[in-house]
């Protein structure tokens, strides 16, 4: 501190406390609501003291909202996206930085441009491709009249139809989200700062490319990977639009989507206590990950955007 400013310091702490309270109020209120019985939660205004119905509300929410299965789905989706993204982008960045080949720049540009194509701007066509992953191949067969060619060649009625739907499947939830320009960038930037000597030495010792990757690059990237794990887990867990589009079966959907069915609508009995207990359950895993890995989280957040 440059000078003594006791009044200003007091004000600083006062406003900080106020800010923390405002930011924390929604979750405090949710926590209170989740512990109250129905009569209490529907009072206006709701009492701000904890009740004793927490476990009852939790188990009601658990059963009513298929939460067991859906939390499992969320977990599989979030970890699948995290692991998939990190593997795919790390290998991609390794290829772009450490190999020289003709289409290197094209590949890099192709990955780069996906920054400009979030799922929100291609909702329907992405849904269509998930409904039949072989759509492009089928289109190729149809336009090249391959079917009639084969019919002529084989001499009998023969037709190829390729169809594989990713709707209501884990692959459909995960695969479209594992390509990420930002992660590839992060690894590319990081690999570029790795000293040239390491690769030279590895080559001199006769290490193959994959050996160099496994024994040198991978251990060096541990902090970057940890940072990305936090960011991408939160990203995967909190996905909304994509799971909403491709899952119709309540046993295949994610917890964040399923939560909507717990919110009381206009004519329902206002079971807000159950809804809030469910909300708490669903929001906890990513919050815990962020709080427990705070250092990595801040690093990942700030570096990802560079």
């Amino acid at each position: 501190m440059v000078e003594r400013t006791p009044i200003l310091d007091a004000l600083t702490y006062g406003f900080l406390m106020l800010g923390i309270c405002i930011v924390g109020f929604p979750i405090f209120y949710t926590l209170v609501a989740a512990t109250l019985p129905l009569e209490e939660v529907s009072k206006v205004p709701m009492p701000l003291a904890f009740g004793d119905q927490f476990s009852v509300n939790l188990s009601t929410a658990w059963e009513k909202g298929h939460l067991g299965q859906q939390l499992m789905n969320s977990f599989i989706m979030a970890s699948g996206i995290t692991i998939g993204k990190i593997i795919v982008s790390m290998l991609g960045a390794f290829s772009i930085v450490y190999f020289d080949y003709r289409f290197r720049k094209v590949a890099f540009a192709a990955v780069f441009c996906t920054l400009m194509l979030p799922v929100e701007v291609r909702i329907l066509p992405t849904y269509e491709i998930a409904a039949n992953i072989f759509g492009p191949l089928q289109w190729f067969i149809d336009t090249m009249h391959l079917n009639s060619l084969i019919q002529w060649w084989v001499g009998s009625d023969f037709e190829i139809t390729l169809e594989l739907s990713l709707l209501d499947s884990y692959a459909g939830l995960i695969l479209p989200l594992v390509a990420s320009a930002t992660c590839t960038f992060l690894f590319r930037q990081f690999f570029l700062t790795v000293p040239e000597e390491l690769c030279e030495a590895a080559k001199l010792d006769g290490a193959s490319a994959m050996m160099f990757f496994r024994k040198i690059l991978l251990p060096l990237s541990v902090t970057n990977i940890a940072a990305l794990v936090v960011i991408e887990f939160v990203y995967g867990w909190n996905q909304y639009l994509w799971p909403l589009l491709i899952t119709t079966n309540p046993d295949m959907t994610t917890a964040v989507i399923g939560l909507k069915h717990l919110i009381p609508q206009a004519d329902d009995v206002p079971y807000w206590n159950v809804a809030m207990a469910g909300t708490l359950l669903v929001m906890m895993p990513p919050i815990l990950v962020v709080l427990m890995m705070q250092r990595w989280f801040v690093k990942g957040l700030v570096e990802r955007e560079k």
Binding site: T5, V41, G92, A110, L175, K203, A209, L245
Partner: protein, 296 residues
């Protein structure tokens, strides 16, 4: 850029990049091209036949008063969300930066909303502001005498979704402003203090100008967030209502295309959004160069 010392194997290089290229082509480029094609086609509701109609769909959406209204709503919503969350983020970060003790604890208490899904943030705020159950709504109605009803009034609904979207983004802005504030050289602050500048004057003449690249970056990121990632808030809280008052552009694409099955119009709207995000990205990359130039 490539490493001076690199490997020569061609096959391995292609194999390594293959997964990324496959996913990108299947789920990004193919759908994007399909979207572009659909936007200049008109198909019957059963998807049996379609005909090439030039810019018919685009002319249609830009003469549709509902679409024009949605543009206005989206702009207002995004600006309000960005300004609210950036102001709070900057305010809290500059306070936290002044704090001598407990910085780590303060940071912990302020960053966790980042981990809350937009849809869940929507549920929390719906519960706080619900006209018949919410405690804040009660306070507004009974103590301040405001006629608050987000289920009926468009303005109230818009305020509610702005609150839900901005709340969770405060922590994102907080993290970046903290990083920016820590990069401000202490010698500058001390020199200004020697010249007799008080804390507020120092903030406005030194810290704030040095933070301007961060501010600009966050403005762009927050507007992108408000445009694209608040879909969950709208879908859980208002479903675009009441009377289309919170029907943002992305929500409209979903509604017209996925629920209403109006393929051509939805595709044209997607293309408009695509052009928008390309513009924003180009702008952002222009700015990145400046950020490097100004950084200390």
């Amino acid at each position: 850029m490539i490493k001076r010392s690199h490997f020569t194997s061609q096959t391995l290089a292609y194999l390594l990049i293959l997964p990324q290229i496959l996913v990108t082509l299947t789920f990004f480029y193919w759908p994007a091209v399909q979207g572009l094609l659909q936007s200049v086609m008109l198909s019957d509701p059963f998807g049996q036949r379609s005909s090439f109609v030039w810019f018919y769909n685009f002319i249609n959406i830009f003469t549709d008063p509902l679409y024009l209204k949605s543009i206005g709503i989206t702009l207002g919503f995004s600006l309000a969300t960005a300004v609210t969350s950036i102001t709070f983020g900057l305010f809290l970060a500059s306070l936290a930066n002044r704090a001598l003790r407990g910085k780590a604890l303060i940071r912990t208490m302020l960053i966790w909303p980042y981990a809350v899904a937009p849809a869940i943030s929507g549920i929390l705020w719906l519960f706080l502001l619900h006209p018949s159950f919410g405690v804040l709504a009660f306070f507004l109605k009974d103590r301040l005498g405001i006629d608050w009803n987000p289920l009926l009034s468009g303005t109230d609904a818009l305020i509610m979704v702005v609150m839900a979207s901005a709340w969770k983004e405060v922590s994102y802005n907080f993290v970046f402003f903290m990083a920016g504030l820590q990069a401000v050289p202490h010698s500058l602050i001390e020199a200004a203090a020697m010249d007799g500048a008080g804390p507020f004057r120092r903030f406005w003449t030194i810290t704030f100008p040095l933070l301007s690249p961060t501010l600009f970056f966050l403005m762009v990121m927050n507007i992108i967030y408000a445009f694209f990632e608040t879909f969950g808030v709208i879908h859980t809280v208002t479903q675009g209502g009441p009377g289309g008052a919170t029907n943002t552009l992305v929500y409209k694409v979903y509604q017209d295309g996925f629920i209403g099955l109006n393929l051509g119009s939805s595709a044209a709207q997607s293309v408009v959004l695509m052009i928008l995000i390309v513009t924003i990205t180009v702008l952002q990359f222009r700015f990145v160069e400046r950020k490097v130039h100004y950084s200390l």
